[in-house]
Amino acid sequence: MADLKQSLDTIESVVKTSYTCEGTSSWDCVLRSRQQGRPGAKTFIDLICDSFMELHGDRLYGDDPAMIGGIGMVGGRAITFIGNRKGANFKENVLCNYGMSNPEGYRKALRLAKQAEKFGRPVVCFIDTPGAYPGLGAEERGIGQAIAENLKVFSTLKTPILCFIIGEGGSGGALGIGVGDKLYMLEHAVYSVITPEGFASILLRDPSKAKEAAEAMKMTSHHLKEFSVIHDIIPERSTEQTAQAIKETIIRDLDVLCNKPLDNLVRYRLKKIRGIGEVSGGKEWWQPLLEVFTKTESLR
């Protein structure tokens, strides 16, 4: 009996370790989040949905293969899925621009999110991108404006939004589909304002110090949970088991969020977004926000 108890403790401690990503260095997480063959948005969508139909295009310019979107059925509930797509092999990587979206990707996501709001469907986002594409065309077509618009619209979208960082959460490109009611991270996913390589070359003035940068930036699921930037960490096991864990989270959350009055939902979302930041000498901020709500026609 004592032996059994001891081995249970051992199992528990092992599980706990892997659950919080402790014992794994930040750099290990960075490498794992980028690993070729790591399940992407499409893999999870296929495993989670009973059926799924992909919808294409932003109705303005084109269709961005680096952003996948569509409608899926999950246990009798229609959900709009949006996700970054890196591609499963080299050929697909190139086709999908390694998951780096152009403006049309963000505008497709925006179109589908608004469509979801219109028809009362919740939105689930899978984030997995090194960042928005830093190219000539992306700038010409307003990548900054496209991301900005998504942040604004997603923050007050009147339908539940769940976000999952499943691999790389790279900067504004990740945030562009990352504003929602709940934010989760897979255990070995990362989320940061810049890549560790970028941080190393700009702030440490030494591109070879990416490993040190990754530690200093505190970009693992464990750190972000501690910062209360994410709601929870989803343990990574086999692809099927991880997908099942995501699915259970989606069902559990939507059972709650879909029954909330939409105005309350948006208020809580805004309050959460508004609360992130560390300043001194600031004033109480929640009261003015409440007062704005009373002036806001649709949130009154």
Partner: protein, 256 residues
């Protein structure tokens, strides 16, 4: 005392607008200089002047860097906000300072920009924001990224309360500031010649492996691509803002 123009390398005498008479280069303005050109005399009342950054990800050296920048710029962070009147009309104004850590957006910038917008929504006053920023403040890690969502969500509240938001993009406006509140104005103005974009020119050159075309990401480029409403020279800025404020005042509905 003549100033050396960094663009044409000539020694020039500048007036209050601080535009090079030889090549039309726009020198950066201090907060006091910008206020003097923009708001009615003695109308500016600063808000949250004492707000300062913390070190949210406990990054070594960040606190020293902040102190150093405070000393160098005589500012507490990269944005100054307050109430004012412009040609007699009340407004909330926010002015970013590139002189403080490259105008980067950390928790203080995010919070104060948000405060300015919420203050505008509460009072029903238009909000005018002058941007100058290299982007997110990397030293604050994920917290700096989240300021993009925060400021954009405040812009959403302005939209819901039908409060006008006017942007004046000055050199440079890039990265996380471009990808959040800077692109969310009801009217977006820019100073001539300002660099406005998302990714840095060197990053883009690294991606496409060729030199960028002349004038790429300048405000003239953004105007031609449809992301800026108008380029306004400094001497016309105050009257332009006044025109915008007057044309965006909503008459109260007769009913209700």
């Amino acid at each position: 005392m003549p100033d050396l123009c960094p663009n044409c390398q000539k020694e020039v005498a500048l007036d209050a607008y601080r535009i090079c008479p030889s090549c039309n280069h726009y020198f950066p303005l201090t907060i006091a200089q910008r206020l003097a050109l923009t708001v009615d005399k003695d109308s500016f009342v600063e808000m949250s002047a004492e707000m300062r950054s913390r070190n949210p990800i406990s990054l070594a050296g960040y606190e020293d860097k902040l102190k150093e920048n405070e000393k160098k710029s005589s500012l507490n962070d990269a944005v100054t906000i307050g109430s004012c009147t412009i040609e007699g009309d009340s407004a909330i104004i926010a002015i970013m300072s590139f002189a403080f850590m490259g105008g980067s957006m950390g928790s203080v910038v995010g919070e104060k920009i948000t405060q300015a917008m919420i203050e505008g929504a509460l009072r029903g006053w238009p909000v005018v924001i002058f941007t100058a920023s290299g982007g997110a403040r990397m030293q604050e890690g994920i917290f700096s990224l989240m300021q993009m969502a925060k400021t954009a969500s405040a812009a959403a509240l302005l939209e819901e309360t039908k409060t006008p938001l006017f942007l004046v993009l000055t050199n440079p406006t890039t990265g996380g500031v471009t990808a959040s509140f800077a692109m969310l104005g009801d009217v977006i103005l820019a100073e001539p010649g300002a660099i406005i974009g998302f990714a840095g020119p060197r990053v883009i050159e690294g991606t496409i492996r060729e030199k960028l075309p002349e004038g790429f990401q300048r405000s003239e480029f953004q105007l031609s691509k449809g992301f800026v409403d108008a380029l306004v020279s400094r001497d016309k800025l105050k009257q332009t803002l006044s025109f915008l404020i007057k044309t965006h005042t909503r008459k109260e509905a007769a009913h209700g």
